[in-house]
Symmetry: C2
Subunit: 328 residues, 2 copies
DNA sequence: TTGAAAGCGGTACCAG
DNA sequence: CTGGTACCGCTTTCAA
C-alpha cells in the first residue's frame, strides 16, 4: 500500500499538500493538484483510515449490536442500517450479543477501542450504564427506554389492531399468547390486545409462553388447544409462535381460518411462505433499521435532531389465517 | 478515554513500561507491574486499538462480504464466522454486496483501508483480481474457484443424494429445476442429480428457473405443473424454490408426498416450519462459516494450513415432502 | 529492569 | 499557495 509520502515524493510536493488535495481543504494550485491527483492514481493510493482515525480520534465505523442475526427478524433490521450508513460513507462493525450482558459489554468495549463514531443496539439493557457514555452517540432499536434516542414500532397499536381484526372477523373465543415478560414490545402487544378485548367485552383466555423459540412455542400451542378447545381466534406473541400454532392446528385437524383464526406479529419473511400464509401485524423492520441509521448519522454529524424518539407504524397484513371480512 | 500516558503518569513509570505490562513482553519488575496494573484499573484504561493497528500495520478486524444478509441462507454463515472470530479476539466488519461488483470492490477497498487482517467473501467473482492481493488473506465461502482457500458444500453429492432419495421413494417422473447458471453450486447440484437420473435410466424433465427469488420460483412452479402434469418428483434448486413448488402443488390440489415428492437444497431454518415440512439436502451453513473463520485465523496467524480447500458434507433431511421408505 | 525516542500514516497549524 | 513539523496513542529498538 502506497502512503501519503510516496505520493508526495512522486508528485514532488510535501505531504501537507497531498493532504490538502486529498481533503480538498486550503489552497492548492490547480497544476500541482493535477500532479498530485495523477500521482495518486499511478500509485493506486488510498488514504489509510487507521491513521486518519488516530489523528481525528474517530473512525468511520458504526457499531451494531443485535441479539442474534440468525433470528429472522433481525436481518431486515441489519440490512436497513447497513444500507443507510453505507450510503453515508460509514462501515459496519457487527456483533451478536445473545442478549448476554457480558458479551454486549465486550462488544461495546472493543467498539470504543476501535473508535466507532456511534452505535446502534438492540438490547434489553438500554438503561444500563453500559450505554451511558456521553462521548459516544447511541441509538436503541426495537427495544428502548423513554426519552433515549430510539426507533421502535408501535407495539401497543399492534396489539389493538390484532384484537380488533380478530373480533371484526368473528372470533368469539380469543386466546392471547403472552410473550416473554422481559421484552417490552411483547408486553405492549399484549396490553394493546388485552385492552381491546376487554373494552369489547369479548371472551378470552391468556396463556404465557415465555419464549419465542419454535420448540417452546410448539408446547404452548399444544397446551392451548387442550386447555381451550373452544378457541376460535389466537393472537400469537410473534410470527414464530404463530407458526407453531398453525402447525398444531393443522396437526389436530382444525380448519384455518374457518374454525380458528390466527394472527402473528412482525411479518418476518417466511410468514408469507407458510401454508396457509400468516396474517400478521407488520413491523417495518427494514425501515426501522434505516431510521436508526439516519438518527445515528445525524448525531455523528451533530446535526439538529428534531425527533430522537421515533415510533414506527405497524400494519395489519391480511393473509390466509384470518377470514375475509365480507365472508363472515 | 484514558491513554497510555495517563497510566504511565499515574503509575510513575514510562509509557514503555506500561506497554510492556500491557503486552506482557520484556522484563518488568513485579512491583512496578502491580502498580501499573492498578493504575490501569483505576483509570479504566483500555488500549486504543486504532493506535495499535497503525503501528502494527494491521488491525484485529476481519471483513465479511455477503450477497445479502436478508437471504435466509446467509445469517447462519455469518453467525458461524462471527462466533469463531470473536472467540479468537477478532471483530467483524460487514457488508452486503448484492452480488454487485462495484459494491464488492468498494467494501474490499475500505476494508483494506481499515487494515483488516483478512476477509471472508461469498462472491461470484473469486478469480477477479479484486481478491488478488497477496498482502491480504482471503477465504471464499460457498462459492469458489479451484485451489483458492475456501469452504463450500459438496453440491454434486447433494444433487446425487436428492435424485437417489427420490428414486428410492418411488418417483417415476422427476422434474429437475435448474438454478441460476452463474452459480456454481447450482450447476453442481444439477449435474449431480442429472448424473444419477441418467444412470438409473429414470424418466425426467429439466426446467430452468433462473432466479432464487420466491416470486420467480412461483412462476416456474406454475409452469412446471402445466407442462409436466405427470411429474411425481421434483428436485428444486433450493429451499425457496421448493417452497414455491409446495405452494403451487397445494394450490392445485396435488397431494404431497403421495402424488408428488419434493426435495429442496440448503435446509434454511424455515424449511422445517413449512407445512408440510420440507425434505431437503442440508448444507451445514453454521459450520461452514466456522470453518471459513478458522481458515482465515490460521492464515492470519501464519499457522501451517494442511487443508485450505474444505469441502463440507451435505446430508438428506427427511421430512414430510418425501414418502417414508417402508411405506412405498 | 527501565526510559528515551523514533516512527506507524495521516492532519492541521504556523511560517513563509 | 506551499512546506515544515508537532502530534494522535501505541510499540519497539537502543542504551543505560
Amino acid at each position: 500500500m502506497a502512503t501519503i509520502k510516496d505520493v508526495a515524493k512522486a508528485a514532488q510536493v510535501s505531504v501537507a499538500t497531498v493532504s490538502r488535495v486529498l481533503n480538498d481543504t486550503g489552497y492548492v494550485h490547480i497544476d500541482t493538484k493535477t500532479r498530485v491527483t495523477q500521482a495518486m492514481q499511478e500509485l493506486n493510493y488510498f488514504p489509510n483510515e487507521v491513521a486518519r482515525s488516530l489523528f481525528k480520534r474517530e473512525s468511520r465505523l458504526v457499531g451494531l449490536i443485535l441479539p442474534d442475526i440468525t433470528n429472522p427478524f433481525f436481518p431486515q433490521l441489519a440490512r436497513g442500517v447497513e444500507d443507510e450508513i453505507h450510503a453515508n460513507g460509514f462501515r459496519l462493525l457487527f456483533g451478536n450479543s445473545d442478549e448476554d450482558r457480558e458479551k454486549e459489554m465486550a462488544y461495546l468495549q472493543t467498539f470504543k477501542q476501535n473508535q466507532v463514531v456511534g452505535v446502534i443496539a438492540v438490547t434489553n439493557e438500554p438503561e444500563s450504564d453500559l450505554y451511558n457514555d456521553d462521548e459516544l452517540p447511541v441509538v436503541f432499536l426495537d427495544r428502548t427506554v423513554p426519552n433515549a434516542p430510539s426507533v421502535f414500532a408501535d407495539a401497543m397499536a399492534g396489539g389493538k389492531i390484532a384484537a380488533m381484526e380478530l373480533i371484526k372477523r368473528g372470533s368469539q373465543q380469543v386466546t392471547l399468547l403472552k410473550g416473554p415478560a422481559h421484552l417490552q414490545t411483547a408486553r405492549q402487544r399484549f396490553k394493546g390486545a388485552l385492552d381491546v378485548l376487554t373494552e369489547e367485552g369479548a371472551n378470552f383466555h391468556v396463556m404465557s409462553n415465555a419464549s419465542f423459540s419454535f420448540q417452546e412455542a410448539r408446547k404452548s400451542a399444544k397446551a392451548l388447544f387442550q386447555l381451550y378447545p373452544e378457541t376460535d381466534g389466537i393472537i400469537a406473541s410473534n410470527d414464530i409462535v404463530a407458526t407453531a400454532v398453525i402447525h398444531e392446528a393443522l396437526r389436530i385437524g382444525k380448519a384455518i381460518p374457518d374454525e380458528v383464526q390466527i394472527i402473528g406479529f412482525d411479518d418476518i419473511p417466511q410468514s408469507e411462505l407458510l401454508f396457509p400464509s400468516l396474517s400478521t401485524i407488520r413491523q417495518p423492520a427494514y425501515d426501522m433499521g434505516k431510521e436508526a441509521a439516519k438518527l445515528i448519522i445525524k448525531a455523528i454529524q451533530k446535526q439538529p435532531i428534531d425527533q430522537s424518539v421515533i415510533q414506527m407504524p405497524v400494519s395489519f397484513i391480511e393473509r390466509e389465517t384470518t377470514r375475509k371480512v365480507d365472508s363472515q
